[in-house]
Amino acid sequence: MVESNVYFTASLASLIHDIKVGKIVGSYSISQAMLNHFLSTLNESQWSTADELMTIVRETGRICENALPTEAILGNIVRRMLKIIREEYDELNMPQEQIKQTDDSQAASLQKLVTQNSEKSVEKSDYKALYTDLRENLITHLTEIENELHLSHDNLAQQASQHVHSAELILTLGYSKSVEKFLKSVPKERKFEVVIAECAPACRGHLLATSLASSKIDSTIIPDSAIYGYMNRVNKVILGTHSVLANGGLRAASGAFTVALAAKHFSVPVIVLVPMFKMSPVFLFNYEQEAFNLVGSTQSVLPYNTPVSQQVKAYSPAFDYVPPKLITLFISSAGGFTPDYVYRLLAEMYHPDDYNLTK
């Protein structure tokens, strides 16, 4: 059993516990907590070389993925962390004359990307050399990432004026922080209307409606069953998501597939807001795959006290898979891109060797 694992520290246990029992909720807070955890790992753990640190981080990622397989964000932060360790190490490790060369090669990045693997295999470093500056550099880099995370919602929201216009009818589903901020930062003089599918059984759509109403945005709640009926009048669908898979598909709140299909039928554009940390290099290959879905309490769809409750099987899945062909545009902090482009962003953000943490 993993229990003898030295990497399973008390602080990690309490982080996982807090996420598990719902003390830390929402992807933003989770990633924040994870970054803080790594920051303290950098400072407090026993490590001298980049290789040792990477082992610690990788093990942490593995434990998190075992404990909370549905929280893809944890894995993403771990991959990001590994990537910056590699970068910082390479920078220190590289002989002076080569630095210039890499500067040039960054420009020709597409070609570099394709050839990257073969090149790397030749001069693959073992990350075992000792550098005293490494810790310092990593902390600086990590703080940058934290800032980036901090600003991710704002960066998204700044683009709102390009996408939402006057007199438009926008449809969204459930509650997403990104969507909330996005809609609220549309310039006040533009009058638009929002239709919110309540997203039963949790009905978090109600939260969004009250929040939008308090900032004087016209909002209407509709039951999930009315999504199709409303769609012909809608100008745009704006969704948040739990994570984006490697093929550009979504793992989003259940109901998202209904929305996307209806939008396709009426040729309504579907815009998905993704802060960068939600991009995961994971594919869906099977609906029964580990941790694709999370099935919630049966109570929420069928009361226990009904006479039939023992005779029927009721499920309350939390997520829907939305295939990439139904999505018109992703908006990230860096700007818009199509599902086809996801592979490219992933390659920029994570090192290919880190895609699979569990191995």
Binding site: A13, S14, S297, T298, N305, P307, K313
Partner: protein, 659 residues
Amino acid sequence: MEKKEIIQAVVVADNFSECFKPFTTFNSPALLPLVNVPMISYVLETLNRNSVEEVWIVSSTFPEKVREFIKRGIEEHLTWSVGMNVQVIACEVRSLGDAMRELDGKGMIRGDFILMNFDTITNAKLIPSILKAHKDNCKRDKETAMTVVYNKISSGQRTGNEVVIATNKRTKRLLFHQRIHPTNKEEKFKFPLEIFLDNKEVSLHHDLIDPQIAICSTSALPLFSDNFDYDTRDQFIRGIVMDQELQAASIYVEQLPIDQYAAKVSDWIAYHTISQDIMNRWVYPLVPDMGVCALKQQYLFLKNNIYRNNSVKVARNCSIKNDVVLHENVNIGDESLLARCVLGKNCIVGKNCTIRNAYIFDNTKISDNCKLENCIIGASVLINEDCTIKNGTVITNDCIIMKKEEHSGSLIQSKIPDDDDYLQDSFEKLNDKAYKYIENRESTRNDSEDDLDDQEDDDNDAEVYIKLIPKVPNYESSAYSSETDSDDDENDVGVAQEDSIIFLTEVIDSLKRGFDEKSNPDFLILEINSSRYAYNIQLNEVNFFVIKACFNLPVVLDHADALEGFKQVYNYLGDKVIKNYIKGDGAMVDCLNAIVECCEESEKLKPKLMKTLHFLYNEDILTEDIIISWYEDIDKNWVKVALNKFITWLQQESESDSE
């Protein structure tokens, strides 16, 4: 800033019944696996999710095993170990009441606490809503001892956990409580008339189940200590609710919201139902794939409620129907069929087996062509080829079942315990590793059959349900029911007076001995309380007699100046004993009446009446308002005369105070 209050909880790790025998002969019932996790984990996890910070587990059977489990859990960072301090108290207790008295003795409980049993399976959110309700009750009513939490069920179930209650509709104070007997199909319940006379609005409930969750005030523990005949939670509740005059305490009721689940694993039938409920995700988030306990996901959740560990090997042509949990390294052979069952770690199932409604613990091996239905199989059991095991058979750890055996409704254990309870000849030896317990259970089994049919007619698989009903625990046949009361009433009058005289002499004896030996006043209170229950004396009578006894002590009687004598007694008993009884307005009136009666009996004391009252008034035992209002009601002339001056003085005093 206000200091944050720590939320404490007490978990009783014993059910004080024999329903899980013979498993409980070799291990603590708290560690009996339920869907592959020791049962107590569910309670701990629930408490943890309710952000409880300190938990005491009171354990009397195999406490070292419970302690070992807790220690290992903390090392392994199980979910409940994070942010929660769990401690095991090992003590020899035979009932819940004993456990509570033990806790009271240790004095570790500092405030309101949650009281639960290890066998309560719930996803209730007690905090903040129910805890707040309890705190509000306490604020309104200083005598609140407990807030019990009940859960609504669909009516018609009979598992022995259902209750019929009456509450005050507005305050939710419990006024009547009766457990529904699982086999006597009562159709009528008798409520005392006073309930309806004393309360404006009463609500009656008959659709509630008692999952054994309660929030207790600090005053609950001393109540257990004072009344050492309270053994079970029911006796406690009944004691307080039915004898409201006897106890200055009250109990309130809260209901869980409809979307929260709570049930008690009271016997094997409940074990089966609750296991199925867990697999059907009614108890979310306490479901196998969320990792009850472990901070690690152990199962994949697949269609039809199949939970499968990654390391499980399942032969290609076997069929796994529905509601199945397969733990680490389970191996299932060709052509086997599994439905509604749980398999523990490292279990091996051979070829062509059928397993339905069965619970199989870790490391068990089931050989080819076996048929297992409606049974519980312990850990490390070996079942050889071609066996049929059905109808609620329970096989405990380490047994070996030989080829082609057939068992139906039997209890089999691997060795004969040294316990006295078990007679050697009540076992039939099957082989060195299997002894069958012989017991005439035919009658109970027939009784239960219809019950189970009602519950389970949904499932064709479950034609033969787990029938093993262990002996139904002896529910006290409603001792407090109004019938018995009315029958006894006529005789009571004569007896009651005699009783009170004996009681008075006993109190005098206790006080005299205590006074002479200068023993601990706490013991005196205990002595008085116990005589009080022996003679069934009401609370106000106790107050009356205690005061009377004080004046009838030899010290007072023999002293030249009776008041001086009483002062001596008071110096010793006043703080603890007298103040313990004489608190509250009613008690003061009792005290005054007692003094007057003493004066009438003793010529020596009579002239001192005013001075006695003045002394007690100075000692803050009596208040001026009570004395004055009592004085106005009294119709004895000599008292009026004797106290005239004192009362005038008191009135002046109060007037000057108010100015």
